[in-house]
Amino acid sequence: MINTLHIKNELEQLTRLYEFLDLHASAYGLEEQLTMQIKLALEEVVTNVILYAYPDKKDQDIRIDMNYGNKQLTIVITDKGTPFNPLEMKEPDITLPPEERPIGGLGIYLVKQLMTEVTYSRSSGKNILTMTKDIH
């Protein structure tokens, strides 16, 4: 069964995202560490969409679909905003000392590290980001 959440492009709505994840992760029986990692990936991706997908526009929709089956969790984040593939962002050099660390790029890097697979597609005017996590 697919569970769906719609939020508006406001940072305050992240609270609803956390609740949505906690609720379903517990129903799926996911362990705490895994839930934290998935929450982190979800927060990073959705925060990016909230901040950049709809410049200067309010009350815009962001859709999150989540499904668990065959030992795999799938999350799809869809928006109708500006075409943007976060996976093309330059990866941070994680060996740099603090003085030389840039501010951005860490979030998406974490998403790629924590999830099994992350893919982006643009279709019918929508950004569609799909993340999967194998659950052992």
Binding site: Y18, E32, Q37, L40, E43, I94, P98, L106, G107
Partner: protein, 100 residues
């Protein structure tokens, strides 16, 4: 998230709950205050810190840089394993001082 700051020989920050995009704004205000004061040692106690996202990591970077610029020290203690894992993945553990 609950933030408690105790001043003494060392300034001890207790974070309880999630350090995420939303709660990091409050923590940033505390950091700005701490860095403006005459403080030599800052310790972040993570006993009750359950979650950190990149917004929180950025603030750890701010604290680390800010304390170094003052010739002071910044240490993290009692971090939960899940948080240490995130610091390892991002390479932050290579420049932060993490006590067990």
């Amino acid at each position: 998230m609950k933030i408690t700051v105790k001043n003494g020989n060392e300034t001890i920050i207790n974070l309880s709950g999630q350090l995420d995009t939303l709660t990091s704004a409050d923590f940033e205000k505390e950091i700005t205050k701490i860095l403006a004061e005459d403080v030599h040692t800052v310790v972040l106690d993570g006993t009750e810190l359950t979650y950190i996202s990149s917004a929180g990591l950025r603030l750890l970077l701010t604290l680390q840089k800010g304390m170094k610029a003052k010739n002071g020290t910044f240490r993290l203690r009692n971090l939960q394993q899940d948080i240490i894992d995130i610091l390892n993945i991002t390479g932050f553990s290579s420049f932060l001082t993490i006590e067990s």
